[in-house]
Structure formats: structure tokens, C-alpha cells
């Protein structure tokens, strides 16, 4: 039986992991390579790297880091941030990424999803969506959640999947950072709308939140989080053991 996936997400700027990371016994907490190895050894099922660099020099550092990560750990790697063209896909795939996540780049140019899917396959294209409730509907936000695009999130995700997106990361801005649990209502609406794997993001604060997520919404394939893993509030081995004990199928 296929397992539910637990995915830590790392923000990388100028080749270093940003957002405080606090691990016991890990000297260089901002080294993407060391963190990736740590998470892989802990049983993370996949890793997501977001490149939040603005400069060309930072971009080059990111691909160097990615190459090093992909030579060191052997679990699926997803890369996002600054993906605006098919050439950007090419750049990160050559460095060992398995999947590429598009967000603002696909909003600016929706044909990016189809072009990339035709060239690299649907399984390679992850559509990442930041969504928030506006007037009782789910609305897509761009630029890291700062800009209301006016797009209806469910429609946008449907059209993305039709164009070839093979997986959806749904990040609820309403629950992100609050640590009160995943946005079950928004996730249920997305799971209802599409047949591709859905990865829940935004709101995880405890192991119970993951239990609720997978029990309430069996169609959700994975849970993604950043700070609760980085700060050690939730350890991945504990999380996976407790989920397994609670009847959620896990890779242990």
C-alpha cells in the first residue's frame, strides 16, 4: 500500500538555509547539504527546496548546492522559487532535481505548465498555490502571498492539472504560521476538484494536526512543513511512528 509522505521544506537564500533552524548536535544549521542529509536520515520522504534568492549570483550558488545535495542524498527532491521558463526547469533538473514547482511564474504565464509537462512529463511539474479566503471563496495570491491575483483557486488548480501539473502543493495563507492545524476545508475542496496527488501545507503545529489531516482527508497524499521540523518541535521519526501507530500508512 502506498504510504503518506512527510516533506520538510527548506528556504535557501544565496546558497544557505534561512529561517532559523535549531537542531541539537548539528553544527552548521544553515548548510543545505547537512540539513538535507539530516532529514533524509530521519526518514523524510521527500525534500522541497525553495530558492528565495533574487540575484543571478545567488541563483548560481543555489544550483551548486542542489548538485551537492543530489550527489549526497537519494530521495526525491523538489525545487521551487524563481521558476519562470522551461529553461529554468532545465537548469534545476540538470542539477539533480526530480520535480519542479511553479507558482508565480505559472500565474504570469500559464502556458509554462503545459510546455514543461510536454517536455519533462506531468510527474515533473508541481503546481504550488498560495490561497486565501476572500468573500467566501478561495483566491490565489502571488508573490509569496502579497498580491491578490483575483483568480479562483479551485478553477486555477483545475486548469493547471488539465495543462499537465502532476501534483498540487496547496498552501493556505489563512492557516500558515498559526500552527492551529491544516486548512481542512480548503484541502477538501481541492481534493474534490482534481485527481492528482495533493500536498497539504500551512498550519501544522503538532503531530495531532497530521493525524487529523490524514484521517479526515484520506485523499491528501502528503503533509509539508518547515519551521516545526526545523525547530525540532516535531521530530520526523516521532511523527511517522505515531502516525503509523494511529493507522496511517507510513514508510518507517
Amino acid at each position: 500500500m502506498i504510504t503518506k509522505r512527510i516533506i520538510p521544506c527548506l528556504d535557501v537564500k544565496d546558497g544557505r538555509v534561512v529561517k532559523g533552524v535549531n537542531f541539537l548536535g548539528l553544527a552548521d544549521v544553515s548548510s543545505p547539504v547537512k540539513l538535507a542529509k539530516f532529514y533524509s536520515d530521519c526518514g523524510a520522504d521527500e525534500l522541497v527546496f525553495y530558492d528565495i534568492t533574487a540575484s543571478a549570483e545567488g541563483r548560481a550558488l543555489f544550483t551548486d548546492i542542489l548538485t551537492e545535495v543530489a550527489s549526497t542524498i537519494f530521495i526525491p527532491l523538489t525545487v521551487g522559487g524563481g521558476i519562470n521558463t522551461v529553461e529554468d526547469f532545465d537548469r534545476v533538473l540538470k542539477c539533480g532535481a526530480d520535480k519542479v514547482s511553479v507558482n508565480s511564474g505559472a500565474i504570469r504565464d500559464p502556458s509554462l505548465i503545459g510546455s514543461a509537462a510536454r517536455k519533462y512529463g506531468d510527474q515533473c511539474v508541481v503546481l504550488s498555490v498560495d490561497a486565501k479566503r476572500v468573500d467566501g471563496r478561495f483566491r490565489v495570491f502571488a508573490k509569496g502571498g502579497r498580491e491578490d491575483t483575483g483568480l479562483d483557486a479551485i478553477e486555477w488548480i483545475r486548469s493547471g492539472v488539465r495543462s499537465g501539473a502532476g501534483e498540487i502543493v496547496l498552501n493556505s495563507i489563512d492557516t500558515d504560521g498559526v500552527k492551529q492545524g491544516f486548512d481542512l476545508e480548503m484541502l477538501a475542496a481541492v481534493c474534490e476538484a482534481v485527481d492528482v496527488p495533493v500536498i497539504a501545507s500551512g498550519g501544522a503545529g503538532s503531530i495531532d494536526h497530521f493525524k487529523t489531516l490524514f484521517h479526515t482527508l484520506p485523499k491528501v497524499d502528503a503533509g509539508l512543513a518547515a519551521s516545526i521540523f526545523h525547530f525540532g518541535e516535531v521530530s520526523i521519526p516521532d511523527l511517522k511512528r505515531q502516525l503509523a501507530a494511529d493507522g496511517v500508512n507510513m514508510r518507517l
Binding site: 542524498i73 485527481d195 497524499d221
Partner: protein
């Protein structure tokens, strides 16, 4: 030395890195002389069957790989590379494969419950058929260990050659073997320590213990 067959399909970065991680000497090559000189071969592959089969044929490497396999050289197909070992594929039409192992490549949609998603993507547990001994490729892992899958088609009508399955509704073919020719549907180069243990078994196993 292990030759990773390069016929213009996909990205071989992770495969090369994972072989280096298990200490294997490997070279990515499309040169028939290098392939013939290698001790073992790996046939990778991603994307659509017809495209990959076409590239393999046009490069002339299909015959090189078949000749080497028939001469007894260990050959491991990975993902689409496993599917290419079978006789034919039903992916968008009918397309001949290398025919090194009897079987057909068929859509998983036709055999899985409607509620299951396609592609079959993620970590799934390997099961070994009870009626035969565990294949040497899996000598360093356990029944139930998880590996990473990404596929929409599977090896059908190859029951005699199946050495591992994974449950996705029914038990789907996860690996096949016939004498010195082996194939895995999953990605050992993306399956963590379990995947590396499988690659190490292939790389280090002596000819006769692999078959």
C-alpha cells in the same frame, strides 16, 4: 565497470551519483565499444515508451544491448528501462520492446480501483512472490521495505518473471528477472538506503549469484 546506457533519454545525474555512493565504477555511455567492454549494463529511461524505444533503435544500441544480454552480461532496466525489456507496450498504440523478457506494458488505470490516482507516485512496500526464492537483487533488503515509484504503466503478462510486486489495488509488477536480465519499475536511485542496497547488490553480485 558498469555502463549506464545513454541513448538521449532523461537525466542520468542521480543514477550516476547513486552508483558512486555505493562505490561502483560506472560510466555513462552511448559508445558500443564501451558497452561491450563493460561488466554490467544499466538501461535507464523516463518519459513515453515509443519515444524511448525509437531513440534506442535509431542509436543502434537496441541491438548492442540485446546481443550483450544474450551473451549473459548482467543487465538492469530501471523504470521505463524495465518496461523496454518486455515484448511490447500499449502506451499510445502498440510499440515493440526489446523482448528480452516475456510480457506487455499496459496501463495501470485498467487494473486499479477508480479511486486510486494515476500515476502511481510515492513510496510503496515491496512484496516478494512466495513461490520462489528471494532474488539476489533483494538479498540486502527485507520484504516490506519501501521504494519510490512514479509510473502510469506496468509490466503485465509477465508472472513467470516477477520477482517483486507492490500493492496498488492489485499487486503490480515492481521487478522482473529472467536469467541475467533484470528490471525494476521503481527508482532505486531515489529510494534512499533501500534503493542503494539494491544497486549495491546488482553492482557487487557476481554473475552466477545474480541469476
Amino acid at each position: 565497470m558498469i555502463a549506464i546506457i545513454d541513448y538521449g533519454v532523461g537525466n542520468l545525474f542521480s543514477l550516476r551519483s547513486s552508483l558512486a555512493a555505493v562505490g561502483a565504477q560506472a560510466v555513462v555511455t552511448g559508445d558500443p565499444a564501451v558497452i561491450c567492454g563493460a561488466d554490467k549494463l544499466i538501461l535507464p529511461g523516463v518519459g513515453a515508451f515509443a519515444d524511448a524505444a525509437g531513440l534506442l533503435r535509431r542509436s543502434g544500441l537496441d541491438r548492442v544491448v540485446c546481443d550483450e544480454a544474450r551473451s549473459g552480461k548482467p543487465l538492469l532496466g530501471i523504470c521505463l528501462g524495465m518496461q523496454l525489456l518486455l515484448e511490447e507496450s500499449l502506451e499510445y498504440g502498440r510499440h515493440p520492446g526489446l523482448g528480452l523478457i516475456p510480457g506487455t506494458v499496459a496501463p495501470i488505470r485498467d487494473v486499479i480501483p477508480a479511486s486510486y490516482k494515476v500515476p502511481h507516485i510515492g513510496w510503496n512496500a515491496l512484496h516478494f512472490p512466495k513461490e520462489r526464492p528471494v532474488h539476489p537483487l533483494f538479498s540486502r533488503i527485507q520484504e516490506g521495505d519501501c521504494v519510490y515509484f512514479v509510473h502510469s504503466y506496468y509490466g503485465a503478462d509477465c508472472a513467470d518473471s516477477v520477482i517483486a510486486t507492490a500493492e496498488y489495488g492489485p499487486e503490480l509488477t515492481a521487478a522482473v528477472a529472467r536469467d541475467n536480465v533484470m528490471g525494476v519499475q521503481f527508482h532505486p536511485e531515489k529510494s534512499g538506503a533501500v534503493g542503494l542496497a539494491i544497486l549495491a547488490a546488482f553492482c557487487e553480485g557476481k554473475g552466477e549469484t545474480l541469476c
